[in-house]
Amino acid sequence: MNPTLKPRKLPGVFSRIVAVALLTAAPAFMLASSHMDAPLITLDPAANTTDVYAFVSQHDGVKYLTAALSVYPHEEPGVGPNKYNFDDNVRYEIHVATGKDLAAGRATYTYQFDFNTAYKNQGTILQSYLGVIKDVGDAAQNLTQTYTVKRIDRRTRQVTTLGSGKVPPNNQGVATPAYNRDSNGDLVARDGVADSANLDRYTAQTVYSLKGYRVFAGQREDGFYGDINAIFDLLKLRALSSNPAISTSSFDSQAGFNVHTIVLEIPLTAIGGDQQVAGVYATTSRQRVNVLPDDDGRGSDRGVMFGEFVQVGRQGNPLFCEALIAIKDKDLYNRTSPTMDSKLFSKYASSPELGALINSIVFAGAGGFPTTNRTDLVGIFIPDLIKVDLSTSAARLAGGGASHPTTPDDAGFSRLGIFGGDVLMSSIQDGFGGGKVPGGWPNGRRFGDDVIDIAVTALVNDLRPGSFSLTFVADGIDSASKNDAVYNKVFPYAGTPFNGRNHTHQ
């Protein structure tokens, strides 16, 4: 084989010619009469977590822990609306660990979201919209999703139904003008706002106050930003390109995409108060079914039985599963509890392969930072819960940048968190000295935290107590230094969903 053989393009039929030459018989799959040809490994977008957020928030003088879970990676705004909804068959859960449960990775409280879809009119091809929607759930909205929220106290097993809510329609454009500028369905989505009174109508109508909590569930713009393409393209980071046209450009892989997000504002009194660090993670689950029809031998009771929910997705800190856990263990991560992280996944934090690759590829082996025994990273990721110091004041929030005319970032907000000088004062831990703790991730995670820059900074420095050395801040390392949309600085914080008719990707 010639090691310098350059690939060439061939007509599509060539593959078939080659295949016939190589095989004696290659029966194609057909429907089940030929052989079992069901797909083997597929994605599960409705249960596929993209991000979890958790931070201290405040309104009306009261502090809360705000937690959010997003699903549906790369949700294309232009795709037909019936294709992106929360799945009625998925149980979405946000878990909070307090006290001894935190170190153990065990949920103390679980907030469970179950969805239900109904149609006003099944005798039409217009699945989601029968007309222009004025109010959520009005006659123009055909497909309507509702949800119930339950709180489970894992210690006492007490289950409390907090209430229910409606999911606002997806932003299609003409059918959903209120999401968009000038209430015009042809224009781009509105910016996020700093005052609840200025929230778009649909979002405002679907923020619910339930027994001291606030809750929202619906389509949002994807608040994560980063040049994922370059990171997984052998770390060919644009900032380091010799081509100025590339090195000065930015690229957000998530630009123009939506997600579906659940946001829950939890009163601190409900989880033991503010003098503690709490941990947050989220899971998605689907139900077991009986493969064999339930047959009592008399021909009766045949059919499908739905069993307990089985966890199929899990997320805590950003990037742990995506960037640190090896492919062979990702499925294992998704179906296990954080209580198992210390035993199963500690090695990925302690000796992160990404750190070794950065050292090798980006620094040619001269990075000078440890790639093993990273107890600092273990402290962040194991167990994989987002740890939030509840004793601090509310986190500073991102809007549309420091100089955005209507929704500027809070003063002192830095997307780099502590590496950008954004710190909070804890009353329960010394932190980085005198009670200083990061203002963003890994102390909680806010919308707008540049988790890639923060993660790379953590990886390429030695932040272990006793050998602490911060020599390089990876500011702009992936050339994506801001979100492509403006966050809301009020609940539900995540930005307005992109318009299916008018949006752009990078």
């Binding site: 030929s34 597929t42 079914v289 064999l292 089985v310």
Partner: protein, 449 residues
């Protein structure tokens, strides 16, 4: 000592940046080289423009420059599987098999190679080999995909109870489109059509546009099931959605053609069926196409398709050739030989059914009766299976012949015209008064729009 952040923090100096740029450039110069351990055939870029092709091209690019090509090669192998499913081009299964071989031999990624190779073997009907690999995987690690592969091999070998156990392990580990679809199939084969529809609907809802080929397949399967329930409208909607996801998706075109034909719309059936044959010129689509051609009076074209079906199908899908010959009453001897040879490969219900029909055609009724037992053993409710079992029963003067043919008649919308003729002829052999009521030749369902 914890150093103050404001003193320690320092941005990358220009000199350091230049050093990094030179390092990255050196890496970039190697971008066009092909790793020796990766077969060149896997790096030929596809020329189609689908999303999967874009992913294949991106994967090939990463593979060429990867410091550790193994994981990327595995990813590429599964992309070839996805391409094969979406395009109906079995050549891509071959490429996946080559990737599997390279994974094991050149990179020592044994378990990853086994799963990929096992899936390829399964598609090539080498079920015993697929089972062996699957068992090794289950013993070594036991993931949901491993149990899926095991269950698939056992299913196609006719070992339904064992397959169901493997699938149960799979769904218990990971409820998903993949596991729900398999559970649906077991419910179907056990005669629980409603349960199968419920589970296949769940499978469809668990999928997303990112897995267009898998979702399109699931929709076609759901379409087939609801069609069997008599819900043509819903079946048509499933097919339409599958074609929206993957244009020219052969299983969808085939199902669409069958539904048109069953609805008495043979002319309309010709378009999707001709397309299906153009994409995948295998015995089954050719057979259905030929039936539609005959129905509109284009006999010479039909005959041409049928000749190709037999000639080319002997190597590609001998069981369907045997089925065709037995239904048409042509060359029963060849049908018996082909069907019997297929038993060496697998012993699933349909293979037994084709054997039974072929043997009955040459008057070997005792052997046909033996095969017939397997057809009905699981309680499957399927027009073809009931017809074949009923045919054998009526030729052998069995007491359940009338009941079987009656049940086949109720599902006669699922039968091709030549199968309907066989059904009618079989019913005519029943003792007087024992036949089903109603005219079996009239379509019993709505037109397919």
């Amino acid at each position: 000592m914890i150093c103050s952040l404001s003193l320690c923090r320092r941005r990358l100096a220009v000199g350091g940046l230049l050093l990094l740029i030179s390092v990255v450039s050196a890496v970039g110069d190697q971008e066009s080289a092909v790793p020796v351990s990766v077969p060149a055939l896997l790096l030929i870029a596809p020329t189609d423009l689908s999303a999967i092709d874009a992913q294949i091209i991106a994967s090939q690019r990463r593979l060429k420059a990867a410091a550790l090509p193994g994981p990327e090669l595995e990813r590429l192998g599964w992309l070839y599987i996805a391409k094969a499913r979406a395009s109906s081009d079995p050549g891509f299964f071959t490429l996946a098999g080559i990737a599997a071989d390279a994974l094991e031999k050149n990179f020592g990624l044994t378990q990853e190679a086994w799963l990929l190779r096992g899936h390829v073997l399964q598609t090539r009907h080498r079920f015993a080999e697929a089972e062996e690999l699957a068992r090794r995987l289950v013993n070594a690690r036991g993931t949901a995909a491993d149990f899926a592969l095991l269950g698939d091999a056992l299913y196609d070998e006719g070992r339904i109870a064992e397959a169901a156990r493997a699938y149960q392990e799979m769904v218990d580990l990971k409820p998903s489109l993949d596991s729900y679809a398999r559970a649906a199939n077991i419910h179907w084969i056990k005669g629980d059509l409603d349960g199968a529809v419920q589970l296949q609907t769940l499978a469809v809802r668990s999928g997303g546009p990112g897995d267009a080929g898998a979702l399109a397949w699931s929709l076609c399967r759901l379409g087939q099931l609801v069609w069997q329930q008599g819900n043509t409208t819903e079946a048509v909607a499933c097919v339409a959605r599958a074609l929206e996801l993957v244009s020219d998706f052969e299983p969808a075109l085939l199902l669409q053609g069958r539904m048109f034909l069953a609805g008495g719309q043979a002319s309309e059936a010709l378009v999707p069926l001709a397309r299906a044959v153009a994409i995948l010129p295998l015995p089954e689509p050719r057979w259905v196409y030929a039936e539609a051609l005959r129905a509109v009076g284009r006999i010479s074209e039909a005959t041409e398709q049928e000749k190709k079906l037999v000639r080319e199908g002997l190597a590609e899908d001998p069981r369907t050739v045997a089925q065709f010959l037995a239904i048409r009453g042509q060359d029963f001897a060849l049908a018996v030989r082909l069907a019997h040879a297929e038993l060496e490969v697998r012993t699933d219900i349909m293979t037994h059914a084709v054997n039974a029909l072929a043997l009955a055609g040459v008057g070997r009724l005792d052997e046909a009766r033996e095969q017939r037992r397997a057809i009905l053993a699981e309680g499957t409710v399927d027009a073809r299976l009931l017809l074949y079992a009923g045919r054998v029963a009526v030729l052998g003067h069995e007491p359940d012949a009338a009941e079987l043919l009656q049940r086949a008649n109720r599902l006669s919308a699922q039968l091709l015209p030549s199968e309907l003729r066989l059904l009618q002829e079989s019913i005519s052999l029943l003792p007087t008064g024992a036949g089903p009521k109603g005219n079996i030749n009239q379509p019993t369902q709505n037109k397919t729009s």
